[in-house]
Amino acid sequence: MEKIIKAVCGAETVEDSLFYFLYNNCSEQRRIRASKFYRKEDAYRSLIAESLLMYCLNHEGIAGDVNICIDSETGKPFLENSSLHFNITHSGDWVGCVIDDSETGIDIEKIREMDKGIANRFFSDSEKKMLFGCNNKERFNDLFFKMWVLKESYIKAIGKGLSCPLNSFSVLPYDNHKIDLVLHKETLPHKYFRLYDISSTYKCAICSSDEKLPDSVDIMSVEDLVELIRNKENN
């Protein structure tokens, strides 16, 4: 199948009518999860994430009542009764989703000020060499978040989370397409990456099991997503 990579922008400010539509559109499990967040923005992002995933699955011809399960060992979500793999991410104003027929991961993060001590603790020697070569704070933060979304997309794809030491592999981004992965542990699988410029203040990365990655992310607004779901329901 063609990989599906979609992102929704405007996730922090959702009109009431759209919120209620999304709320009613989501599973009970997701509603309960969303109700636990302190900030309404987190609830918005959570509801948009499931709605976006379900829309994409529906678009692929998979029945809307497919169940999302959690692997009890790794905590990685997976689809019951489907061989498709998926991953979702949300940060600030963005929610992203990727669907593929093999292991895949996505991460979006808002760029912010980061302490060098964090890179020292978590990044590999070759990553630190590249990162500490940045001659100003802005470039440092920009490269830090490029590396971080790549690393996070990798650990999400392999379903390990932080139980996979972040310095057991290196991701070295030379540009959005040329990203070297160096594995420092034999047991880790090889993957492919791409960075996407979705915004000047956010970084977005996809990790894939094969080399074929689309050139761009399909971006839509919350209104667009709701409209697409409504149209699908009416057809």
Partner: protein, 89 residues
């Protein structure tokens, strides 16, 4: 000074409030609340939290310690830091 529970709690709460909640009074949470479930800390926040406790409490957080049981609430952090300070493990 930082060895008793109250001082540890206050130090952690102050860091969390300043760095993840922008000192907002609107967000109230208990010492037992999960940072992740409540949307207080995200994955990047975990890195910042680990950096903070390493620097502030002079302990080394090993890779195998990066679990919700150790890091995902004020209470879990207090127990973890005390254990690391007393036994080193």
């Amino acid at each position: 000074m930082l060895e008793n529970d109250t001082n540890l709690q206050l130090s952690i709460i102050d860091f969390v409030n300043r760095n993840f909640l922008m000192n907002s009074d609107a967000v109230k949470y208990s010492n037992a609340d999960s940072f992740m479930e409540r949307g207080i800390i995200d994955s990047t926040g975990v890195l910042e939290l680990v950096n903070f406790i390493q620097q502030t409490f002079k302990i080394t957080v090993n890779d195998e310690d990066l679990t919700p049981e150790n890091l995902d609430s004020v209470n879990n952090l207090v127990s973890y830091i005390k254990r690391k300070k007393t036994t080193g493990s």
